[in-house]
Amino acid sequence: MAARLKQMAGAAAVAPLALLARALDPPLRAVQRVAGQGGMITFFLVPNMAIFGIFVLLPLCINFVYSMTAGPELFLAQRDWVGGAQYAKLLDCEDYTRPATCDEDLFWTAVWNTARFVLVQVTLLVVCATVTALILNRELRARGFWRAVFFFPVLLSPVVVGLIWRWILQRDGILNAAMLDLGLDPVNWLIERGWAFAATVGVTIWAHLGFYALILLAGLQAIPRDLYEAAEMDGTRPARVFWRITLPLLMPNLLVVIVLALIRAVQVFDEAFVLTGGGPGTATLYMTQYIYEVGFASLLKNPGLAAAASILMGGVLVVLTLLQLGLGRRGELKGKAR
C-alpha cells in the first residue's frame, strides 16, 4: 500500500514535467528538421552564449575600448581616443621592481603588493585548507559541528569579516585590550606595515579556509578506503601514505583549490579595504583597490586609466588560469600514462 502511494506521489510530481516535455516536443522537432541534429547543439547553446556575451564579453570589449580613451566623460563617443597611451603610462618605468621610478608609481606598488599577497596567502591558504580537511576527514567526535565551525566564516559577507577583524585589531580593539590585561604592551596592528600585511593575509585565510577545505574534504572522501587498508596491512608509515596515496589522488581537487584561491587572491579587495583601507601608507594597496580608487573614488576620476589597469590585471588572471589548467591537464595525462 505504502509503495503504491509512493509510486503515485512520484507520478504526480513528474506529471507536469512530462506534460511540458510533450508540449515542447513538436516545436523542437520542427527546429531539428530545419537545423539538423548538429544544429540542435547550437540551438541549445545560444541562450547561454547570449547571456555570457551581453553580460561578460560585451562589457569586456567596452572596457578595452575605454582603456584606449581619456577624459572625464562617460560616453565613449565623447571621450578622446588616445590609443595605447594609458598602457604606456602604466608601463612607463625605469625599474619595475622599484615603483618610485615608475610614472604611475601607485600602480606598481599595488602590483607588487598583490604579488606578495598572492604568494603568501595562497601558499598558506592551501596548506591550512589541506591540513584542516585531513583533520576533518578523521573520525572525530562531533565531526559535523567542527565542519560547520570551519565553514561558518564563508557565510559571512566580506564587509562583515573586515569590520569584525577591524574591531579586534584596531588600536583600541579587543586584542589590545586583552594584551593590556595580560600586562603586555599593545601593538598598533593595522598601522605597522608588517602587521597590517599579515592581518590582510590572515583575515582572508580565515574567511575562505572553510570553502577550500570543503572541496578538499570531498576529494579525500572520494579516495577508495581499500588503498589505505592495503597500506596499513603493508605497515606503511602515515607520512608515506600521505605522500604516496593521499596527495596524488587529491591532486585534481588541490589544483582546483589552487586555481580558485589564486584568482580570488589576485582580486582581493573587500576584506582588505575595510580592514586597512590600503594603509598604512600603501602597504596593503592591492590591484583592485587601485583600480577602484582611480576609476571611482578619486575626486577627479580617470576611468581610462582604471580600465587599462583592469585589462592588464585581467590578462594576468587569464595567464595564471591557463597555466594552472595546463599543469592540471599534464598531470591527468601522466596519470593515465601510468
Binding site: S157, V159, L300
Partner: protein, 421 residues
C-alpha cells in the same frame, strides 16, 4: 554585505535615474547629522502648501554622492536636486535657475557671495545655494587642559604654541596623541595658507607646491614622527580616502582636534556633558590664522524634466525663514546674507558648548586669508587636495621622502588636470 550594499545602491541609483513623472521632484540628500530629518520635515510642509508638486527625498550615504552622482550626471541623468560638496568641479551639470525662480535678485542678493563656488568660471547662473557654510578650525578638550593644569593658548597662538601645550596635556593625561588633523587635503589647506602656501598660479592653474605649504606640511610630518600628531588617521588608508579623527576627540583621547564647524552637532550629540570642549578657530602661521571655507550646496540638476517644479522647491528652501529654521535645527552656519546680517539665531540645543563654538567659528571667518577665500570657487581644488593627502600620508608612513613627495604632488596634479581637460 558590501556586495549587497553595492547592488542595492546600484539599484537605487538606477531607479533614481529613471525619467521623472510630471510634478515629481527627486532630491538626492546625504546627512552628516540630523539634517535629513529636518529637510524631510521642511519638504513635507512644502508639499502640504504645494499639492501639485511631489518631492521624493532619496537619503543616500555620502559615498553615493561622491562616487555615483557624477556617473549619473555624465550620462545625462540623475536626480532633480542634489546636496553636494564637490560643487565646482561638477558645475557644468547644474541647472541655471534664473528663469525658474520667482525673484532672481533675491537669490543674487542673499546667496551671491558663494554663487561662484557652484557655477562654471565666467558664468552668472544661479545654480543653487549653500545649505551650510563650513569653516575649518580647531576644537580643544577644555576639561583635559584643566586637569593637566595647562593653560589653553589664546587668540593669536601659533600652531607651535598649540602643539606644545597639547603635548604637555598628552604627557600629563596619557592621551594617545597631542592632536590630530583630519585626513583631508581640504583640512590642511587653511594651515598651509597660514604659512604662506599658494595653490593658484597667476594663470588660474595649479601652482607648484611652494615654501609656505612645505613649511606646514614639514612641521606636520615632524610632529607625526614625534608621536604628537595622531599617525593612525593619516596612514590608516591609501589614496585620497577621507578619515576623520572625531572619534578619538570624542573619546577624550586628544587634547586638540583640527577639523571644522560641521563637527559641532556631532560633538555635542556624542560628548554630551562628559567633558567641556571649545572651538578655537585656526592657529596662526607666519602669514595669518586662516581656516578654509567650504560647505554643502543644494543644486538643481540641468537634466531635470520638471524645471518649474524644481524652481518652486528651491525657492521654498531658500526663503529666509526656512534657511533660518534649517540652520537653527541643524546647528549649521547659514549661507544666507539676510539671515547672517540679522543674526540672533536661536540654536536648537541645550548644550552650552555649542553656541560658543558657533560664535567662535563666525568670528574666525574674518581671519580667512584671500588665497583661502579663492579656493572654494577654484576648479582645481580637488586635484590639489587629493594629491596632498595621497603623498603626505606616504611620507608619514615612511614610504616617501618629503622631497620626493613635492615632485610627486606636482606631477599628480598636472596629470589630473590633463586627464580632466
Amino acid at each position: 554585505m558590501r556586495k549587497m550594499k553595492t547592488s542595492l545602491a546600484a539599484l537605487a541609483v538606477g531607479l533614481m535615474a529613471q525619467g521623472a513623472l510630471a510634478g515629481d521632484v527627486r532630491v538626492m540628500w546625504y546627512s552628516d547629522g540630523v539634517e535629513g530629518a529636518v529637510i524631510k520635515d521642511l519638504l513635507d510642509r512644502f508639499m502640504a502648501e504645494n499639492p501639485d508638486v511631489n518631492v521624493i527625498l532619496d537619503e543616500v550615504p555620502y559615498s553615493v554622492v561622491q562616487e555615483q552622482l557624477q556617473v549619473q550626471l555624465e550620462a545625462g541623468q540623475g536626480p532633480d536636486i542634489a546636496r553636494v560638496t564637490n560643487i565646482k568641479a561638477l558645475a557644468d551639470h547644474w541647472l541655471d535657475l534664473t528663469p525658474h525662480v520667482a525673484d532672481p535678485d533675491y537669490w543674487r542678493e542673499n546667496f551671491g557671495a558663494q554663487a561662484d563656488w557652484m557655477r562654471p568660471d565666467g558664468s552668472d547662473a544661479i545654480t543653487g545655494f549653500m545649505t551650510q557654510i563650513t569653516l575649518v578650525g580647531g576644537f580643544a578638550n577644555k576639561t583635559l587642559f584643566e586637569q593637566a593644569g595647562v593653560e589653553m593658548p589664546g587668540a593669536g597662538a601659533t600652531w607651535d604654541d598649540w602643539v606644545e601645550a597639547s603635548a604637555r596635556v598628552m604627557e600629563s593625561q596619557g592621551t594617545v596623541a597631542a592632536f590630530a588633523v583630519d585626513r583631508s587635503g581640504h583640512r590642511i589647506s587653511g594651515p598651509n595658507i597660514s604659512y604662506g602656501g599658494v595653490y593658484i598660479g597667476d594663470d588660474g592653474m595649479p601652482a607648484p607646491v611652494n615654501d609656505g605649504t612645505k613649511d606646514f606640511v614639514g612641521k606636520l610630518v615632524d610632529w607625526t614622527e614625534q608621536g604628537l600628531h595622531l599617525k593612525d588617521v593619516w596612514v590608516s588608508a591609501s589614496g585620497s580616502t577621507y578619515r576623520a579623527a572625531a572619534d578619538d576627540f570624542i573619546n577624550a583621547q586628544l587634547p586638540f582636534y583640527y577639523s571644522g564647524s560641521w563637527q559641532i552637532a556631532n560633538l555635542s550629540t556624542k560628548i554630551g556633558d562628559l567633558f567641556d570642549w571649545v572651538a578655537t578657530g585656526s592657529p596662526c602661521g607666519t602669514a595669518g590664522c586662516s581656516g578654509l571655507q567650504g560647505g554643502a550646496a543644494l543644486v538643481a540638476i540641468k537634466y531635470t524634466e520638471n524645471a518649474e517644479e524644481v524652481g518652486k522647491v528651491m525657492d521654498y528652501l531658500a526663503q529666509e525663514d526656512v534657511v533660518r529654521e534649517f540652520s537653527e535645527r541643524t546647528l549649521f552656519l547659514p549661507g544666507h546674507k539676510g539671515v547672517n546680517a540679522k543674526g540672533g539665531l536661536n540654536w536648537d540645543t541645550e548644550d552650552p558648548n555649542v553656541g560658543a563654538a558657533l560664535d567662535t567659528f563666525v568670528a574666525a571667518a574674518a581671519d580667512v586669508l584671500p588665497e583661502a577665500q579663492r579656493l572654494p570657487a577654484w576648479k582645481w581644488g580637488s586635484a590639489y587636495y587629493g594629491a596632498l593627502v595621497t603623498r603626505i600620508s606616504q611620507v608619514m608612513a615612511g614610504e616617501l621622502a618629503l622631497d620626493e613627495a613635492w615632485a610627486r604632488i606636482d606631477s599628480d596634479i598636472a596629470e589630473q588636470v590633463e586627464a580632466a581637460q
